[in-house]
Symmetry: C2
Subunit: 203 residues, 2 copies
Amino acid sequence: MATKEKIINASIQLFNEYGFANVRLQHIADSTGISVGNLAYHFKNKEAIITRAYEAIGCELQAVLSQFRSEPNLLDLENQLASFYHFIVKFPFYFIDIIEIKRSHSHLHLARQQFIMRMIMQIRKRFEYNIDRGVIKPEPFEGHYDHVAHAIWMVITFWISQSIIKGDKSDVSSFKSVIWSQVYPYLTSKGIEEYQRLVLVRN
Amino acid sequence: MATKEKIINASIQLFNEYGFANVRLQHIADSTGISVGNLAYHFKNKEAIITRAYEAIGCELQAVLSQFRSEPNLLDLENQLASFYHFIVKFPFYFIDIIEIKRSHSHLHLARQQFIMRMIMQIRKRFEYNIDRGVIKPEPFEGHYDHVAHAIWMVITFWISQSIIKGDKSDVSSFKSVIWSQVYPYLTSKGIEEYQRLVLVRN
DNA sequence: GTCTATAGAGTGATAGAC
DNA sequence: GTCTATCACTCTATAGAC
């Protein structure tokens, strides 16, 4: 049934533009080119729609997170940042409406928290691996890189929100710049060399 | 008229708990201990309520931003962070619902963008002044501290959102830790000494 | 699978008595 | 200033014909 898929795609587009709470069933039906009655046939209620949308989005996020190799170098980070950015601009409502959806459909949020923890841990591990590779300086004191990983996750998670709030046009290069500025002070001289060779040259 | 003030206080409490869009006029009236008709007498509509609430909140934010001296040292930052945190936990909806309010009452957001720009500039200037004081290292390359200031503003702005999303209990010490972790790598040896003497000793 | 029609529960805002 | 009552409208969800 391609209709179900068309409904989900149209819904995601509308959620992105108007915010989940502001999108009406009528609106989704119109955008899909079907009636509200037909919409109800495919999805019993709005919750069923957002649940399905979250499934699809979760799959894509899974794919982005899976780009993490066992020993990631700085180019891996650069590439993953590009993937993250692509994901963010494809599903802005997933970040913008996160608290509203936690409020109204908390079971969806519960599953999502797994992703969040996994993401922060992954960022933290990147520091670990690149310390071993001699590219990142050792942790200056216990727990410091946990804070940095936390901050990096926040920049990723709220990037689209902040660009809307500030009225900026979101672009990938400033996104990457702010993330890299989080890593830069911890690069060793070998790390700076690798950064310039692998990352800067490409931009 | 104390009633107007009671309405605003009740409204802010409800906005904080349920989110601006989920608060009903009936809800505000009940919480204030008046009827909806009476509520309408004091505020013509919901927009008038949020406008007045934003005015009050803006005043408090103004006060926090005014703690910025012409030559702020690291203790000033520590103190201002405490004030920011206090402000954030007093008006969480101001941060959580920021995009929703921009969507539905854009004129309020327009005024708010002034605060945002001022705040980022203030953070940037703190770096400048403390470079001059020999407490912060010179900028490693053009524009780097702009990125760091941007990241610090994001941590402040989205702190309450992230704590809700992660399911953490928000506390002032982890807030300060993450912000200080943004500054720490740029401290000179003199800066670390001042940091330990003025900031760490107090916590 | 798809439609029209409508029930049913709210929601913001107003009218008018006290 | 404060109240009750109600209008006009929106939105989700369901019933039933095709």
